[in-house]
């Protein structure tokens, strides 16, 4: 593990999981890998945070899971975003964009 990895900011894990799963259904390990890859190796999600978040979202009806065969013919639990989840993703995304824009404009204006 590289020492330069960043801590995942509070509240963004859910948003990133949504975004990743909105593109294609994935299993837990797939999500971890995709996140590391997309973040340019800056983020590494810990299973101790990932699985509780996945279960919470599934329980609340934002994600839906089904068991499918993997590439090497093993069974894994694949998560995908539901309609309710997409709505939540849109809302989150909009809010997050506003927050980052606001922070950026404060930084630039100073």
């Amino acid at each position: 593990m590289s020492a330069a990895r960043l801590e995942i900011p509070q509240g963004t894990l859910e948003l990133m999981i949504f975004t990743i799963l909105a593109r294609e259904p994935l299993h837990g390990y797939g999500i971890t890998q995709r996140l590391t890859q997309l973040s340019g190796d800056n983020f590494q999600v810990n299973p101790g945070s990932l699985f509780p978040t996945l279960y919470r979202l599934e329980q609340d009806g934002h994600l839906k899971a089904d068991w499918r065969a993997t590439a090497n013919n093993r069974r894994a639990k694949y998560y995908r975003v539901t309609a309710a989840g997409r709505k939540r993703l849109a809302a989150h995304r909009e809010r997050y964009t506003r927050v980052t824009l606001a922070v950026a404009s404060v930084l630039e204006g100073a």
């Binding site: 390990y29 299973p47 101790g48």
Partner: protein, 896 residues
Amino acid sequence: MTLWHRMVSILTWIVRRNRAETRLDVELREYMVMAAAAKMRDGVPRDEAQRLARLELGGLESVKERVRGERHGHLIDEVARDARYALRMFARTPVGTAVVLLTLALGIGANTAVFTLLHGLLLRSLPVAQPSQLARIEIVLPATGQESGLEWGMYQQILRRQRSFSQVSAWVPGHYEAIRDQAGTLRRYNVSLVSGDGFPLLGIRPHLGRLLAPYDDVRGGPPHGWSAVLSYGFWRDRFAGDPAIIGQRLQVGKTPVTVVGVAPADFQGVTPGLNPSLYLPYQMHATLDGDSRDVDYGCDVLARLAPGANLTSANAELRIYQQGIFEQFLPTRVTQAPTFRGARLQASAARTGFTWATKDDRKSLLLMQGLVAVVLLLCCINVAGLMLSKMNTRQHEFAIRKAIGGGRVRLTRQCLLESLLMAVAGATLGAVAAWFGSAALLRFFVDPNQTETLSLHPDASTFFVTAGLAICTTILCGIVPAWHAGRSDPGALLTSRTKVAVRGQLAGRAFVPIQVALSLVLVSTAGLLSKDLLNFRGEHLGFDAAHVTTETPWFYHQLPQKDDEAFLEVYQQIVNRLEELPGVESAAITGNRPTEHGVAAPFQDGVPGSSSAMLMAYNHVGPGYFRTMQTTVLAGREFDQRDRDRSVCMVNASAATHLFPRGQAISQTVKSASGDPRLPTAPCRVIGVAEDARAANLREPAPPTVYFPITKEAIAVHGNFTFLIRSVHAEDAAAAYRTAAAEIVPTVPVLRFATVQQQIDELFGRERLIVMMTNFFGALALLLSAIGLYGLLSSNVTQRRGEIGVRLALGARPGTVLTMILREAAALFSVGLVLGVVSRYAAATFVQKLLYDTSVFDRATLVATIGLLTVVGLLAAFLPARRASRVDPMVVLRSQ
């Protein structure tokens, strides 16, 4: 997220948990396989890749625990699992669990039972509309500290003149009447008389029919005849809750009444604990008495404050006309007496009704509550001690649970849950015990003749108190062990066992001296109280209480014989018949029962011109009275069949010395110095002198007493006479009376038989109860501290096996080890004894108030208590100490 969705998800989780758990496990393992596979692809060897994958996951169980924490209702689930685990732990140590459970049940049960009494008799509001507006009006006598009810006339006056109350009513509780029910059985029931506005004032709704109204309460009776309202309990028990009771006729005494309604179930009269069976209009009393004297009863006056009025304004108003009322209704003999100085009419809050509990009752109840509270505290300390020593043996388990991911909160919660389960189970058992216990306790507080109609059972507020006690108990018992469990350090524990063990019992040690101290206080108080009561019971009373049975039938109202001579003849016939029957040694009649307060009157020497009158007790007794009571006749003879007039009398020894200080009393004369026509004003010749026999107040020496034969004047004094039946077995006396009564007076109900000894015991009921309770709780305290000490030492010995083994291996003799353990126990014990003696002296003034002629500093009791405690303590310490001395060094050293 709707509530519905949430509930479904909780339910699914509970129902399909096993499947979900398996899936979670599969998913996480799959994650590890994938992670390992990815690392192997990067060239990491297989074993190393698997180790790294496990590290990355950070502990399978710990991730699972966090996932479970996200579930809806995971708290319910965890608590349920903890509870199941706790139950398994309990089942594994059944004896220990039973001890804890019984201890808690005793503590909580005793508290609930006593509180039921306290609440029912002193605290409960009457179940009527706005009880806070109720006020009672009574005469307060500051000189004697007494309160008394009012005469009917006074009530009428107040009714006419007052402005502060919206309604004023009068109640006469505790009037006994024989009622013939539908089955034709004649029994006596408690009847309450109430003025017509009594029920309207309360504002309650009948269970059936209607309640009494002003038009029912008319002097001489309303045109449609007397009406009656049944209590709910009487209606349910005697009439099987038959709704057709309305309009039916009952016979009260000799008077028929019509049932017009049934009172609501929760209404038990205005005098807590008395619970009348029947409510009748006040004016019916003259009819019930069946005489023309037309004497008004005293009554309890209950009023409702008018809107805008308060007790202060009501009292100010009463003060204006109280003098007039006193002068109109009380004789000057009363109003001029020093005891009447400062007397006033007073209205006071009557939210709880007429609590008859006297100051003494109140004191005893509060004392009992204090006593049982101390016992509960003791129980809690004991249970906490037991739990703590159990925690010490479970240190290992906690350390392992913590090591594999059990959080501190979770462990603490587990321990608290265990104590809560115990407390709830204990409270349930205790509540069951209290249900029966409070009824038994109540018997000690009231006239035993009334218990039939009395009812007090735990109700909702008692339930809350019990629940509260259970929670307090949990906190008291569970908090220390729970804190310990949460603190257990896996690292230290898994490496070494002995180090932690020694630290763990410091808190447990502190319990022993406290237990010993509390036991000492309880046991020595029990000792003092018992000694006091025994002192008294051992004294010579001047009569034989154990073999005399009494019966006081109500001939005065219930015999058809109107003529006095014929009336007395019935008594004589029964006495004669009784003496013929098997088992009866002798029988006689008396005006005053042996334990009854007689009336006193002035008597003097019958010599003309003598003026030294003196207040004496007097009684009318039949032939054979002294023989039956086994009171020795010191000189002369006792009355026989010839003595049927007032020419003769007898005196007791102290009356003889007072009246005739110069010698011989026989053949001297005595006469009444009061103007009372019922007493002999002409001189009576003394024919016998009897030894002094104590009467009503058995704690004091017998008063000077004069005895007269039974004559028709005695009927006016006593009304009914009492049969005294002497027999070896009380059952013989009762059987003989039933036979005689069936032959001679078949229409009169037979009442309760009691030996004189039983009556004496009942007279001292409250004191006996307190002695019994302190003895019981003292013994319990002793047992609890023994268990506490034993438990502490034996877990201590178990933990120190290693150390003891080393000592023995290095040459210590078993005797030395035994002394070592005993010495440690003795140190704890001595601290407790010192604490106990100190707190006993601190409570001395309070305990002294309960004692009659035993000093609270009685040395013998203290020495005996300390001796007893020491013996019990030694026994409790000896068993673990002996076990320690028998440790086999080889076995211990190998196992280390």
